[in-house]
């Protein structure tokens, strides 16, 4: 039966918001706004061309989302700020209604957009468990049945009959999550609630959610900016961008798309303004700029660990510099910084065009996709630096997964990190 397998079906769901203050808050304000909108409609042609929007215009926080989630799936939802993740969760947890389309939900929904919703400082931990549990949809009997487990999970212990206003923020969060984690709902919606609490507790929570999905067949929807937790928890992932669903499927692929590291095949980079998002902060003085980077040794930037790519960098300088350094800052595909490689000795830059050969040694990097930001800087003997130019990213490539005597294992990035240090020797004691 279809219902048995499906948890959520969203068809053509959109959510519209109006620009400007929605509802001015007073009747007078509303009348003014109404007049303003009328006037805008009349003056449409005269509207200043550079005005991005006028009061009363609408925009889509979510546009035409079609999504089917199966029972027992753990779905990660990622996207940049403003991509519509939170709106999506709000629609699914019925906090606000969609402007278009409809959503069918099979099962009870527990939304954890915040931990400890409805906690009241004057009430004790135990009273708050009941209240919070009831707000999340449990009845009194269910809570009574589980309260010992909840208290144990929360690690609050002896303080359970103390008003929560005396709790530390950590205890508060733990208690809140403990209640949510014991819900019997078939569908659980979480918005980065795990970002709070200590590391150990975070892992405990993730494991609990994972167990809920795998053993009890619960459906978990999880929004996070942390690719590690997404990877740890989810078996499917969607990427939202400006309210649209841009990817749906494999978690690794999704995180790669989110981080902009997909389809690495570029072998010639022309560094225009897109490569310098932080320009106004760091490159105060445009004396020097990196213009073009070419990958010379391959048509597809895929390397084995230990390879040394052959790169040619063309740059232009308005003046002469005696000691310029270059560095590559490496990022792994999930958004963690791996390490930084410096140019060994100072390079002399002449006025005009300079063509440089770059030979980064990719030893120690483990299989996966990387991007490297390239930064050029001036430095002095006191260790001060003065950034001349930086391009983000300067070079993207992947390291092949090659199983040989040196790479005898699949590399587990989430547990081992992204760097493979020098091998040690292990000898039988003579």
């Amino acid at each position: 039966m279809k219902q048995k397998e499906t948890a959520v079906i969203m068809s053509g769901v959109s959510k519209k918001y109006r620009y400007g203050q929605i509802g001015a808050g007073t009747l007078q304000g509303d009348l003014k706004e109404w007049y303003q909108r009328k006037k805008n409609a009349r003056d449409k042609d005269e509207k200043a061309a550079d005005a991005p929007y006028s009061i009363g215009d609408t925009f889509y926080a979510l546009k035409d989302i079609n999504l089917t989630i199966k029972r027992g799936e753990t779905l990660g939802i990622i996207g940049k700020n403003g991509a519509g993740k939170s709106t999506l969760l709000k629609l699914l947890s019925r906090i606000t209604a969609p402007s278009e389309g409809n959503i069918k939900i099979y099962g009870r929904v527990a939304s954890m957009l915040e931990v400890g919703t409805g906690f009241h400082g004057e009430l004790t931990g135990r009273e708050n468990i009941y209240l919070n549990g009831a707000i999340l949809g449990m009845n009194r009997a269910e809570i009574t049945e589980k309260i010992e487990d909840i208290i144990e999970f929360s690690e609050v212990g002896d303080f359970i009959d103390t008003p929560v206003k005396r709790y530390s923020s950590g205890m508060y969060v733990k208690l809140g999550f403990a209640v949510a984690a014991h819900l019997d709902s078939e569908i659980m919606i979480m918005d980065e609630v795990l970002a709070v609490g200590d590391m150990e507790f975070q892992h405990k929570c993730l494991d609990r959610m994972k167990a809920a999905a795998k053993k009890e067949g619960k459906t978990v929807l999880y929004v996070s900016h942390n690719m590690h937790t997404i990877r740890r928890l989810c078996d499917r992932c969607i990427v939202l961008d400006k309210g649209k669903l841009v990817f749906d499927g494999d978690v690794d692929k999704a995180t790669a798309i989110y981080l902009g590291a997909e389809d690495i095949q570029q072998i010639r980079y022309e560094f225009d303004a897109d490569y310098r998002p932080y320009d106004e902060y760091i490159r105060l003085n445009k004396r020097f700029s990196m213009d073009v980077l070419e990958v010379l040794d391959t048509q597809l930037p895929e390397y084995d660990e230990g390879d040394i790519p052959h790169l040619r960098l063309t740059c232009t300088s308005l003046q002469q510099f005696a000691n310029v350094g270059f560095r590559f800052e490496f990022w792994y595909q999930d958004g963690t910084k791996v390490g930084t490689m410096l140019s060994g000795k100072a390079t002399e830059i002449r006025k005009g065009q300079n063509v440089l050969e770059l030979r980064p040694d990719l030893t120690h990097l483990t299989p996966g996709q990387y991007r490297a930001d390239l930064v050029a800087y001036l430095y002095d003997s006191d260790g001060n630096e003065d950034i001349l130019d930086g391009v983000y990213p300067g070079f993207a490539f992947s390291i092949r997964n090659k199983l040989d005597e040196r790479h005898y294992l699949d590399w587990h990035h989430q547990y081992w990190g992204h760097i493979r240090l020098h091998d040690m020797t292990v000898n039988r004691w003579q």
Binding site: Q3, Y17, I22, G23, G25, T26, L27, D30, K90, L91, S93, R94, I95, T96, A97, P98, S99, E100, G101, N102, I103, K104, I105, Y106, G107, R108, V109, S111, L113, E114, T117, G118, H120, E122, L123, E127, Y130, L131, A134, I135, L136, G137, M138, N139, R140, E186
Partner: protein
Amino acid sequence: MKTYYTNIESNNRGFRLNLKELWEYRDLVLLLTNKTFTLSYKQTVLGPAWIIISPMLSSLMYIVIFGIIAGISTNGIPQVLFYLCSTTFWTLFAASLTSNAYTFLNNAHIFGKVYFPRIAVPVSNVLVNLIKFAIQMIIVVGLIIYYTCKGEVDPVWYLWPLLPFILIHISVMGMSFGVIVSSLTTKYRDLSILVSFIMQLWMYGTPVVYPLSQLADGSLIKKIIMYNPMTAPMELFRYIMTGKGDVMPGYCAASVALTFVCTLVGIIVFNHVEKTFMDTV
């Protein structure tokens, strides 16, 4: 196992009162009631005794101002009983209204994070007020018995089974007005400032501190006061409790009809607002 199914449509506004869902959340209603009740008297010295003290204080004030200074007649009912009886009854209505007038604003932080039938909050507020009323009635009934023994009042005992209906009627009326106000305050905050003023005016427009019989028949002020939906229930309540008061079946029926209309409007407005108010608050 029970299977739950929800269909969220973009356009099902209008009338939809999901009593089944409210019933599923009955424990939440009770817990909210319990919470409001306990929290009202946390860190007070007298605690729940305030439930009885506050109507007594206001009755005392009315006795001094309206009974002694202004010399308004109480139709032969002992002043203590007259004012206490009227005040508790009025307070039930007024509290049902004002406690709900800020439902959306006060609970925005909860409503914005989790779904539950929003109507659970107004219902629990009404329950709190009914419980307080029941406690206050202990004193009122005590006084009635005392004065009946003394022969000063003559309650209409056979009409007492009607009381629950009257109480439900006025608390639902209060709740409906409150819900309408709270739905509108999500857009127009002005209303929340007006509420306390309107409630004061309304009280004086209701025969709370004076009996209706004090007003001259046919006078304009009486006509206006008769249109007040609280007038007929107030007089009926006092008639049942003390044997003195004007029973006006026609006006009572009109008041009940108004409650129905308000409840309908309240539910429609509430449903409309509860789905999207998070976007406006």
